[in-house]
Symmetry: C2
Subunit: 414 residues, 2 copies
């Protein structure tokens, strides 16, 4: 007889006790398990080239140009259609990527190590907002920035992280949630904390003063500098709670721009998928809902770990970016308590008198209460080659929770 | 016939439209109006050596040792009692200082220029928390730190500020208030923003990589790095609204550790003083209320300008440092709307759906409603030579508002 409550407790304890530390950077092929020269990772559940959304296709094209395997979008398209390039979800290779989430073999990634359980996760360098590869853009300026990130930024970061002895992301996030961050779309404080903790090391380890200045400036001006290490940190947390027999807690929520997929701890590595939703968004000037691709990216790993949309009550200023009111932001957090197992030990909400953030989505509660997890997200243009057009809030499709619950009942004979 | 409403509007508009930019650093004697080699400035209203509080005496002793005019506390005491050293409030020399607020002739100060009205204000380098000169400590480690701040930190900062073209403090504070700062006792986000905006310049202008690293580390590790420039910025705001005929708005609130003093725009440079209060505080381990000096420092210039205690609703996490609950923090801001003239145009509170902070204390409302301004503050040990013992909340004595109102009625024949 399985004890679901005990299993869920074990899962959520693992989420919370994981202590992810970002320790360095390396090329993907050097560190990501199973990575090889023809493997291109992407966000969300598995998907074929044909079914890929526009921004993911754009990012794949950009990745091939970045790798030097194509000179033009046309050349890249041919290669991508040829079957020579293999695709796999980041999540199946201990990785996560925001938006299109493409990680190609030569790309530099952050190495995040969970000091409690020993598992690791990886995520690329963040390029900033706007016209960027992860949003499907691949113009020369985008590729040039990717190269600078790979050749200058990442090695400097690696040396600085080693000089600093790593940066404890759980501790940093705890502070950032007290500084108006939600931990997903609003990471202004976390990025400043990250920049400020590494800047003294960068000043010392950078090749020269100009490089130190450039790297620190790029970090400081990008409010999402820390998004990728945060996502990898959350991945180590939720991976620590994965594959626990009898648990109904969600360990992955991820979108590939076509499908929204979840995994459930007691159901192992199986994906439950349904159509990715349309984001309720604030659009950048010149763009409307007609330009928007459906929901995309692995960044929902933050909500899976108990922050992001679930911690909106810490981040009322986010409503200027993703729409809504401060009251809505608080209500979102209050609602998420209804569908989660625990209140986080280390992530607390000052405005709710330091109550812990809602942590560990229970598929039973989602179905019983007909209440879906709420997610903050960026919005990519639906066509390859454009980039970000806005940001907003979205929910997964209900069927994936229902399907998972049915599968759970079948597996455990309930 | 005076029009108080019009006069008050003019004052508060000046407060809000002032745009203070920190442009550089210099030695006090080079820039502060009226500074001379025997003049030692202090926080709060005027006071004699005899009536000075312990921490202010300690800071004066430290300042003489720092200046090389005394080798020991004994020597310093003799000089201070001799009448050779002159004392004056910072506020009477376009300056402000936290806690004891001592500025001696050779000390480096930030230069803050109000780009709207052209006036300037000055404030020293912040030493961090704990055993520091401004809290009355003067041990060799305190003096050594002061010397490093003067000889290494301030010149590097000056070069970096010039390279950056200055840092706009109003804009920076607007962001920090959306990141959980109150702008007075909690300046974590503002200090990170300041550090991050200057770090790329410091990397370039510092004498060498080690100095760049040291300066950026000191800035980043001191959550009050930006307190002094913020205070000087607030001083330029409130000075811009000073000396407007017929106004009942408070332009200065300041304490010397013995007396709490205010100035009112329509009453010019006259001080109204009463006894400094005991702070309701959280004490550092090993200290109690018995160790506490009464309320001290010019940092109440932040509340005078519409932030600090008045903006507590932006900073619920501050209650872990100064006591109370998040609910109290919001209530404090709500109360302050009762005694102020305006809601700030540029300083807004996300949790109150971006309502402006309460700005411009009206002495009539304070007296009519029997509601005193609330202030967040650090607490110094009552004896010279010790340092900080805690932090908390405090109010001025009611008599100073009543006295000011009587003086106003007399002056304007109401």
């Amino acid at each position: 007889m399985i004890n679901i409550t005990e299993a869920n407790k074990k899962v959520v304890e693992a989420f919370m006790e994981a202590r992810p530390v970002v320790v360095g950077t390396a090329k993907a092929i050097e560190v990501i398990p199973g990575m090889h020269k023809d493997l291109y990772l992407h966000a969300g559940p598995p998907i074929s080239w044909e079914r890929m959304a526009g921004p993911m296709k754009g990012a794949m094209i950009g990745a091939l140009i970045f790798e030097g395997r194509a000179k033009t979008a046309e050349e890249a398209n041919k290669l991508l259609e040829s079957g020579q390039i293999k695709f796999a979800p980041c999540h199946e290779h201990a990785s996560v990527g925001p938006m299109a989430g493409v990680i190609s073999p030569s790309m530099a990634v952050f190495i995040v190590e969970n000091k409690t359980h020993g598992n690791k996760a990886y995520s690329g360098m963040n390029e900033g907002r706007g016209k960027v590869l992860r949003m499907g853009a691949y113009s020369p300026e985008v590729i040039d920035r990717m190269k600078w990130l790979n050749d200058v930024y990442a090695p400097t970061m690696d040396a600085a992280l080693k000089s600093a002895g790593g940066v404890d992301i759980r501790s940093l996030l705890g502070k950032a949630l007290h500084m108006g961050d939600d931990g997903h779309n609003r990471l202004d404080a976390a990025s400043l904390l990250f920049t400020t903790s590494l800047a003294p090391h960068i000043a010392k380890v950078a090749k020269n003063a100009a490089t130190a200045s450039d790297v620190v400036r790029f970090m400081g001006e990008n409010a999402l500098t820390i998004l990728n290490p945060v996502m990898a940190a959350c991945k180590t947390m939720t991976d620590a709670g994965a594959n626990i027999e009898g648990s109904t807690i969600v360990t992955v929520m991820a979108r590939n721009g076509t499908d929204f997929g979840i995994r459930v701890s007691g159901l192992g590595d199986r994906w439950f998928t349904g159509p990715a939703g349309q984001v309720k968004a604030l659009y950048f000037p010149g763009f409307t809902v007609k330009d928007a691709n459906p929901d995309i990216g692995d960044s929902t790993i933050t909500e899976t770990a108990g922050i992001g949309g679930f911690a909106m009550a810490t981040a009322p200023a986010i409503v200027t970016f993703i729409s809504g009111t401060a009251k809505d932001a608080v209500q979102t957090t209050m609602d998420m308590y209804e569908i989660t197992y625990a209140e986080h030990k280390y992530f607390t909400i000052p405005f709710l008198e330091f109550r812990g953030t809602p942590t560990g989505v229970d598929i039973r509660k989602v179905v019983e209460k007909s209440m879906l997890p709420r997610v903050n997200t960026g919005v990519a243009h639906k066509d390859p080659g454009v980039g970000q057009v806005g940001a907003g809030v979205v929910t997964p499709p209900m069927n994936i929770f229902e399907d998972a619950l049915v599968a759970f009942a079948e597996k455990y004979g309930i």
